[in-house]
């Protein structure tokens, strides 16, 4: 059955849902790529994630839509915002300058080729082929989506589920190790050493404290730019 045959019997609410959610998804993605402020990029990412959650609901993946909102929009984006605030929110990227000449046109051309060949591959393969599962239906049969997904995760994919537990523990330990405060000042701040030479020598034992003070990178007026409100 071809997509054209399927497309003749689309109901209007489904169509509107798909178009609106798809516009959210693509608009948010373009916002992530083009916004020069990191906070705006993170908020555009929230838009995309909510759009994907709506598309999950439209495809009867109710549990995954809830998890998408809770984990992605609730935890991951907040973590992004924490790091943006921690590293300095008023840093803006100069997206006009192009350090590698011709990189952007080349990237656009390569991705356009990749996208075109991917869609051509889909069309060639009749979009979705394969044996339809008789037992593991996503909904129906008197069972909800959460029941079916839970049964699948805790029976067929039980070992993978246990492995994710180990993965999360490793991630927590790694985050704790990485988040320890190192000693030493800024690596690419040329003024730090000059200032310490000119100043009268501070009392002994304050090296660590002064290094911590220099962690705030906003002292250099050249790198500080006002955020347009």
């Amino acid at each position: 059955m071809s997509p054209a045959m399927l497309a003749t019997s689309i109901t209007i609410p489904d169509l509107i849902t798909f178009i609106v959610a798809g516009a959210f998804v693509l608009g948010g993605a373009i916002g992530v790529v083009t916004s020069r402020n990191s906070v705006h990029a993170a908020l555009s990412l929230v838009l995309t994630l909510f759009g994907v959650a709506v598309l999950f609901v439209a495809q009867h993946a109710d549990f995954l839509a809830a998890v998408q909102v809770i984990v992605y929009a609730g935890a991951i984006v907040v973590l992004f915002l924490f790091v943006i605030m921690f590293l300095g929110v008023d840093r803006q990227e100069d997206i006009e300058s192009e350090p590698l000449r011709g990189q952007r046109p080349l990237a656009l051309v390569l991705i356009a080729i990749a996208l075109g060949s991917l869609i051509a591959l889909f069309v060639n393969a009749n979009w979705v082929t394969g044996a339809r599962s008789a037992t593991g239906s996503t909904a129906g049969g008197g069972h909800t989506n959460v029941y079916l997904l839970g049964k699948s995760v805790f029976t067929t994919y039980l070992f993978a589920f246990e492995a994710t537990a180990a993965l999360l523990v490793i991630a927590v330990v790694g985050a704790v190790v990485l988040a320890r405060r190192p000693s030493g000042g800024l690596l690419d701040e040329p003024d730090a050493e000059a200032e310490s030479d000119e100043e009268p020598a501070p009392e002994a034992g304050s090296d660590a404290v002064s290094a911590d003070d220099e962690l705030e990178p906003d002292g250099d007026p050249a790198t500080r730019q006002e955020v347009p409100r």
Binding site: A29, T138, L186
Partner: protein, 101 residues
């Protein structure tokens, strides 16, 4: 009859392409990370679409595990970003040239 799976697949492919373009073009490490999240979401959308069309719950289970791995990846990745860039003045990937010969 709901939306055919091909529409979702095209949408996911376009979303993946936008994420890949951002990953190649942008210099800010945090924005590059967000573009990786976009690509992961495109893959998730593809999984769910195949799950619906083929009536197989395994696709949704795969999305479940992708979510877990994405959460762990973001935690570790942002930990590395913080560990590297809190001693520097800007967060562009071009500054990581310490190993240049």
């Amino acid at each position: 009859m709901s939306i055919p799976g091909s529409w979702y697949l095209v949408l996911a492919a376009v979303l993946f392409s936008i994420g890949a373009i951002g990953l190649l073009v942008r210099r800010n490490v945090l924005v590059m990370f967000m573009c990786i999240e976009l690509m992961l979401n495109a893959a998730n959308l593809t999984f769910v679409t195949f799950s619906r069309v083929l009536h197989d719950i395994g696709g949704q289970a795969a999305v479940f595990f992708v979510l877990v791995v994405a959460a762990a990846e973001v935690v570790i990745g942002l930990g590395i970003v913080v560990a590297i860039f809190r001693r520097r003045t800007n967060t562009t990937a071009d500054d990581l040239h310490s190993l240049k010969g």
